[in-house]
Symmetry: C2
Subunit: 368 residues, 2 copies
């Protein structure tokens, strides 16, 4: 069996190498929700275009996706989209209501509802492929991250009919009719996997699966009722590094890893060192992404710098570390704080940090 010769190392994006656990000269950085509401140029570009329409307009998607790369010099672009875009493209009656979030025309509750969802013909995702191509053409060496919402999170919107704090109807369906729930997640997995696959085929260098609401579940329920469907999605894109993320997942990190992640996204509920401990203890060591609390960006810069530096030091012993926030950028964030943060991360001397850790011996001597 012949192995194709790898290209020159410099051509493989830093973020991809970090995600694969290869040696890197510095820690790559990008931010969840880096494109969008916190940027004044976004408001100008978007104007009065409705969110879902904006997501279906390739030129606008490319412009908005590129904005944070231009402004911050982050190490990856992430496609401007929304987790309900594949549902909308498939014909589901959904709108994104400003100030509320995704709202369904009718909730999905019955077997007939699920059957109707499963019977939808494959969506025309030409707009998505075109958006990826347009963006890639402008990005140069900066990699583009594709993304999609995970089956449970999308199912929660479908079953609840909109955003929910308690996901009560969704959990009730999960326990009352596990077969129906599995059929629903399976249908959603097909839709969202195709959404990811199109992005990779068009040139996305890595992907992130967002399971925003997975943290609402116990580990037992997640492993039994949800993980198999997320695993099926992630199995469709094994040719690129896969980042798997959710909030409130401090007990789910090994489960996220086992579902097929190359990189486990960590939110701010745990120190990154604790997250690494948990992944190792569970026999699922992985590269990690995270995990500065986005709330900290509302604090003065020295506070941000102190905590970000601690995250960078904690990441040194990870199999790979992609710096990010623990959740999306908060709309009220001052873009200048993010610019300084990118400079700090990109200027962090990993070799010196590792040497200091070696000299200090005990981890307690390092900032945490």
């Amino acid at each position: 069996m012949s192995t194709p010769a790898p290209g020159p190392a410099a051509r493989t994006p830093l973020l991809v190498r970090a995600a694969r656990g290869e040696d890197v000269e510095r820690t790559p950085v990008w931010f969840m929700r880096q494109a969008g509401r916190s940027l004044p140029e976004y408001k100008v570009a978007r104007g009065s275009t409705a969110m879902l329409e904006a997501c279906r307009t390739p030129e606008l998607v490319a412009e908005i996706t590129l904005q944070p790369v231009r402004r911050y010099g982050v190490d990856a672009a992430v496609l401007y989209s929304d987790i309900v875009v594949p549902l909308h493209a498939a014909g589901v009656d959904v709108d994104i209501v400003p100030g509320t979030g995704p709202v369904m025309g009718a909730p999905v509750r019955t077997a007939a509802d699920v059957d109707a969802l499963a019977a939808l013909p494959p969506a025309d995702l030409g707009f998505l492929a075109e958006a990826v191509r347009l963006t890639r053409a402008e990005l140069g060496d900066v990699p583009l991250l594709g993304f999609a919402g995970a089956p449970f999170t999308l199912a929660s919107y479908l079953v609840e009919g909109g955003p929910s704090r308690d996901h009560a109807a969704t959990k009730a369906m999960m326990h009352a009719d596990p077969g129906l729930f599995a059929a629903l997640l399976s249908a959603v997995a097909d839709i969202t996997a195709r959404f990811l696959r199109v992005q990779v085929d068009a040139g996305a260098a890595a992907v992130q699966l967002f399971d925003s609401w997975a943290g609402a579940l116990s580990r037992r329920d997640y492993d039994r009722h949800v993980a198999p469907h997320s695993a099926r999605v992630l199995a469709q894109v094994t040719d690129v590094p896969r980042i798997h993320f959710g909030t409130g997942t401090q007990d789910l990190l090994p489960s996220l890893a086992r579902a097929g992640a190359d990189v486990v996204g960590v939110d701010a509920h745990l120190g990154l060192d604790e997250a690494l401990d948990r992944l190792e203890a569970a026999g699922t060591p992985r590269a990690v992404q995270g995990n500065l609390d986005p709330a900290l960006l509302l604090a003065p810069w020295p506070v941000v710098a102190e905590h970000a530096t601690a995250v960078l030091h904690a990441g040194l012993r990870a199999p790979g570390h992609v710096f990010n926030l623990g959740h999306g950028v908060i709309p009220a964030t001052d873009p200048d704080q993010l610019a300084r943060l990118v400079d700090l991360v990109q200027g962090f001397d990993r070799a010196a940090g590792a040497a200091a850790a070696g000299a200090a011996g005990a981890a307690g001597a390092l900032p945490r």
Copy 2:
């Protein structure tokens, strides 16, 4: 030193004995938010009275507090109130907006704001003492639980100006100015501790401290910035059993215990068996309360029964177990489901369950 002779065991309420880890003939049960929106008789009693006005009207508080005791025969009443009532009574400009929650006239952000809060004279809580007395007079042997919001949760409402998903301004203050944050939590702790103390002095048999949002914090931040203030509140009511609860606290259970709890409230993120494991492993074994996922009550009765039975079995090895939901009753809950659940819990044969566990040996042989 002379020890007062204990009264006859039958006179100490079941819930108090379970909370103290004493032997009980059956598992006591009550539900967070058992009084209120899920009950039709509540809507009749409350009518068009505004929430905060209702909470200040002793006769109405007593009536609403008694309703679930009459309907379900639960083993405790919990005072109908709201965690912002002590702030309102102290003169803070707060309202409870239907469909939104507590909304402040102005957020608390500066040292001057915190000083003004700390300088408020003690509130007149005569309405509260009267409500407790009126309720107690009707309750007979059923104990009344007092409650209050914990300092962090109340501080989040004050700093954010209302309900918040990310608690960003609160966390930013915590990290940017820990001294100011401590002063804020200290002022809130004084207000809320007094609210609890008045309830106990008027006859509450136990109390619950609700730290609804504590789960938004990492364990390190909770322990450093929040726990000391909750501990100060709980230290004011050591003469009755203290239940300490928050949601999303799977990593905080030992911290909740150390803050001074006799009973640790457990939400549905963990199996009750896992929660007990964590408390034991941390050297903080405690009686526990919980933890049926309230979403399950929207499922058909056999599903509720199966999961509730598993919770009851898991609770047998606890130092003490008070059955409850993992969070408050969801407004859409059918009261008949709760009635059946009370019957199931009160009919559960602890001795037979324990014998079965002994015979089965491995825990895996029991429903989980």
